[in-house]
């Protein structure tokens, strides 16, 4: 951004160019300030819920299955007429936080909560290796190799987890690895509440 400062040949241009670092830094600083303000009032949240999708059904999509896994594929039609809430998890084998959160997904699956996966920008071989190695928590698994469906969902990065109620409405979203605290404080209570209703 500022390497041009040196190349400026004319003295007048040079005088302007020495202000470039200040300008860039000030603009970035303003942006960061806005982000922090947004973090405090909830309008900016890198891990949080996109206001556009909360309380709405997910966008229309139909993803192919991961052949080698033998699991059914995932499409937006699957969200209709479910017996209870469902957890949707975007993941990839190349993402270390996905390994960290993986035991929590396994725990949900053991509890009987359906966990549906979207494998994001991954190679089929690597994704299968991940599941074989760590265990498979997913009842359905869609493969989003180009990452288009993730864009429609507003996925910030993997891992990212959604909870949908039985009517297929998005109730909760979290970008980042699931932690024990998040399991105890957010996910479990919400699933209990949505199942009871």
């Amino acid at each position: 951004m500022s390497e041009v400062a040196k190349a400026g040949p004319k003295p007048s241009r040079r005088k302007l160019l020495v202000y470039a670092p200040l300008g860039v830094a000030a603009a970035a600083g303003l942006g960061f300030w806005a982000m922090l303000r947004g973090l405090q009032d909830g309008s900016f949240n890198p891990r949080g819920v996109p206001s556009a999708l909360l309380g709405k059904p997910p966008p229309d999509f139909a993803l192919p299955a991961l052949e080698s896994s033998g699991l059914p594929a995932l499409a937006s039609t699957d969200f209709r007429g479910m017996p209870g809430p469902v957890v949707v998890n975007f993941w990839a084998s190349w993402c270390p936080p996905c390994i960290i959160e993986h035991p929590h997904l396994m725990a949900l699956q053991r509890q009987g909560v359906p966990v549906w996966g979207v494998n994001y920008k991954d190679r089929a071989r690597d994704a299968q290796a991940f599941l074989t190695r760590h265990g498979n928590p997913y009842a359905r698994l869609g493969v989003d190799k180009p990452g288009r469906v993730a864009i429609d969902w507003g996925v910030y990065g993997v891992p990212e987890t959604y909870i949908l109620d039985r009517n297929g409405i998005i109730r909760w979203r979290f970008a980042g690895a699931i932690t024990p605290e998040l399991m105890a404080q957010d996910i479990q209570p919400l699933i209990r509440r949505l199942s009871a209703r």
Binding site: P21, L22, P46, G157
Partner: protein, 662 residues
């Protein structure tokens, strides 16, 4: 009592920092030698106070003082002693104490080694260091006090994240912080130069060792972090382009550029404005990393517990230091006239090319890291930028950089002729081409890896060619040449070693491009063939550690029926944090790593228990980190150069006097 002492020492250090940021600066403006002379003792006193504070916090951890909130939140009585101590900097508050301790240490080091510095420059540098120290001490005291008490004390602590209970993580942050903070010194020198309104060869000679030392520590810190990810995350990868990894890479890239352009200032008094700007940028990027990691605007595995209020405080500090420095730059830089002129094809020209490419890579990584944040802020759209972008965008810039790395050091200053240099490098080019062809012949169609091997040989042989050329091999007798090589300046050796180290790292990266892995379920007693070895699973058993339980597999690796290795990968379960970690078992040799990870255990269709094993063969992997070590060694060699060891010559005495009385 001890924690209060630590808290008190911290406040005392803040008072000293106030004095350090005002008195010497005022003295330098007025030419008052007594006030200027206060800089060094104030720096040393501040360092002592912060050391006491740091020691008090370590004491609280070592003695399991459960009345201290920070210890409760991050420690546990059952934790091994080593990790009790290293746990001190495994959390936000403690890591900040380490940060200011290192900063105060650097300030004290400037005082200790800077006796020959002109007193006005020393005073101004120390004043800027004092301001930075003050800001971060205030940050700790007002928002992140590690000595806060809790009553009644809970029975035991909550423990440290098991992933962090590791020797790599014990030494990774301190090294990284020395690197980050080292750039605070070059930043202070740059600001002092802007206040004085001049940059000369003596200034370059002072900035270079500091940027070299910071660079060496940062190189080690980053590579140990990458090594930790390689063996602890159990994934076999070594670099993930995670935002926090990028945050440590950015100052390294800018620092590498600074390291080179400072040479031009020292030798030729050219590129002055540019070098000052790079010195400002290296520290700005260090601070930016601190902001991104601690404010919560990023989403990463590495982030500390985030808190927007803290983020606002750091942003305020960043605003003061960075806009202050850049405003000063905009005001004073135009008055610094370049002295040395040079032709495009020259050593200086080579370094300009190096700087342009490094800064372009910095810009690419910076944009890739921040773009999702700003896009979200401006449009509410969320996207992710992953490894595919970074690999595709940095590789085309890195390639010419590597090509230039062998040519640049052989060019003459001021004006050079490219043709004779290329003639001296023909055998190097042949080696690189040979490496390219051999890789394609024996490893299959892996063009990127082949290109990597070519680059590696180009750099390693290029460094050898540079030393051979300087020693006069081929122009004089071999004995004479050896003698000359021994007496070459250490800086020349240092550069050659560091460039070769980069080649070694690329060798490892290229080797990792050929890595293979196999996932297999094996019953105890069963075996599998992989990478030319027979891997026999002897059994899986329970194992109890100090604060975890584990399942440990024993795998015998055989070649032609003879046992070559016994590997014991395990899975650890930490009850305190309810977390599981994988402990990969790695056998390292010069040719690469054999890497085994224990996965799930389950019964197969026939009802026989099986363990899932993931086996990797990572050719040349250790050389990635060995190369980084060689780079740091090169920097150490350069630091031991006679020119730097024997105190940098002070500016002409009469200059200094004229300045003091001005």
């Amino acid at each position: 009592m001890i924690p209060e002492l630590g808290h008190f020492a911290l406040i005392l250090a803040a008072m000293l920092a106030i004095a350090q940021s005002i008195l010497p600066l005022w003295g330098a403006q007025r030419g008052d030698t007594r006030l200027m002379g206060s800089a060094a003792p104030l720096a040393v006193a501040g360092f002592i106070a912060i050391t006491i504070s740091f020691a008090a916090l370590i004491w609280a951890y070592v003695t399991n003082d459960m009345t201290v909130v920070n210890v409760v939140a991050n420690s546990h009585s059952a934790k091994p002693m080593l990790f009790k101590v290293t746990g001190v900097w495994g959390n936000h508050e403690g890591s900040l104490i380490l940060w200011v301790a290192v900063l105060a240490g650097c300030s004290a080091a400037v005082a200790a080694f800077g006796a020959a510095l002109p007193s006005a420059l020393q005073a101004r540098v120390q004043a800027v260091m004092g301001m930075i120290l003050l800001g971060f001490l205030a940050f700790i005291i007002f928002t992140s006090n590690p000595f806060e008490r809790i009553w009644p004390p809970p029975p035991d602590g909550q423990g440290l994240n098991p992933l962090l209970q590791d020797i790599g993580l014990a030494i990774h942050p301190p090294l990284l912080y020395v690197g980050y903070v080292g750039y605070a010194v070059t930043f202070a020198f740059a600001v002092a130069a802007l206040i004085e309104g001049r940059v000369d060869a003596a200034w370059g000679r002072w900035v270079r060792p500091w940027s070299l030392a910071a660079w060496a520590f940062l190189t080690m810190g980053i590579s140990i972090g990458s090594w930790w990810a390689y063996y602890e995350l159990g994934w076999g990868g070594y670099w993930f382009w995670d935002p926090v990894e990028n945050a440590s890479l950015l100052p390294w890239l800018a620092g590498t550029a600074l390291l080179h352009s400072a040479i031009v200032v020292e030798k030729r008094e050219a590129l002055k404005i540019w070098t000052v700007l790079l010195a400002l940028m290296a520290f700005t990027l260090s601070l930016l990393g601190a902001f991104l990691v601690r404010s919560g605007v990023l989403n990463s595995v590495h982030s500390f517990a985030s808190d927007p209020a803290r983020g606002l405080f750091i942003l305020g500090l960043l605003g003061i230091y960075v806009t202050g420095a850049f405003a000063l730059f905009a005001w004073r830089a135009p008055s610094m006239a370049p002295a040395g002129v040079f032709a495009p094809i020259s050593r200086e020209g080579g370094i300009v090319l190096n700087n342009l490419l490094l800064c372009s890579i910095t810009a690419v990584v910076l944009v890739g890291t921040l773009y999702p944040l700003f896009l979200d802020l401006l449009t509410g759209q969320m996207i992710s930028v992953g490894p595919p972008f970074f690999n595709a965008a940095t590789a085309p810039l890195a390639l010419p950089l590597v090509m230039g790395m062998a040519v640049g050091p052989m060019l003459a200053w001021k004006r050079a002729n490219l043709w004779p240099v290329l003639q001296r490098l023909w055998w190097v080019a042949c080696m690189a081409l040979l490496a390219f062809i051999l890789t394609l012949t024996f490893a299959g169609w892996h063009v990127l890896s082949a290109l990597g091997f070519a680059c590696a040989f180009w750099l390693i042989c290029g460094a050898a060619a540079d030393i051979a050329d300087r020693a006069g091999v081929g122009r004089t007798s071999l004995r004479n040449a050896l003698n000359r090589a021994r007496h070459l300046p250490r800086a020349a050796w240092g550069a050659a070693i560091a460039h070769a180290g980069m080649g070694v790292t690329i060798l490892g990266v290229a080797g990792m491009g050929l890595a293979v892995e196999k996932l297999v379920a094996v019953p105890p007693g069963g075996s599998t063939q992989f990478a030319g070895y027979e891997w026999r699973l002897e059994g899986v058993r329970d194992f109890i550690g100090p604060n975890f339980t584990a399942r440990k597999a024993t795998i015998t690796v055989l070649r032609d029926g003879r046992v070559v290795h016994v590997m014991e990968p395990s899975k650890r379960y930490f009850p305190t944090g309810r977390m599981t970690t994988t402990e990969a078992s790695i056998r390292t040799s010069v040719a690469g790593d054999l890497y085994a990870v224990l996965g799930e255990e389950r019964a197969n269709e026939a009802g026989v228990n099986e363990a899932v094993l993931r086996l990797h063969n990572n050719p040349l992997a250790p050389w990635i980190w060995i190369g980084a070590g060689i780079m740091a060694l090169g920097a150490a060699f350069s630091l031991s150069d006679r020119r730097i060891r024997i105190a940098a010559p002070a500016r002409r005495r009469k200059d200094a006097e004229a300045e003091a009385s001005a």
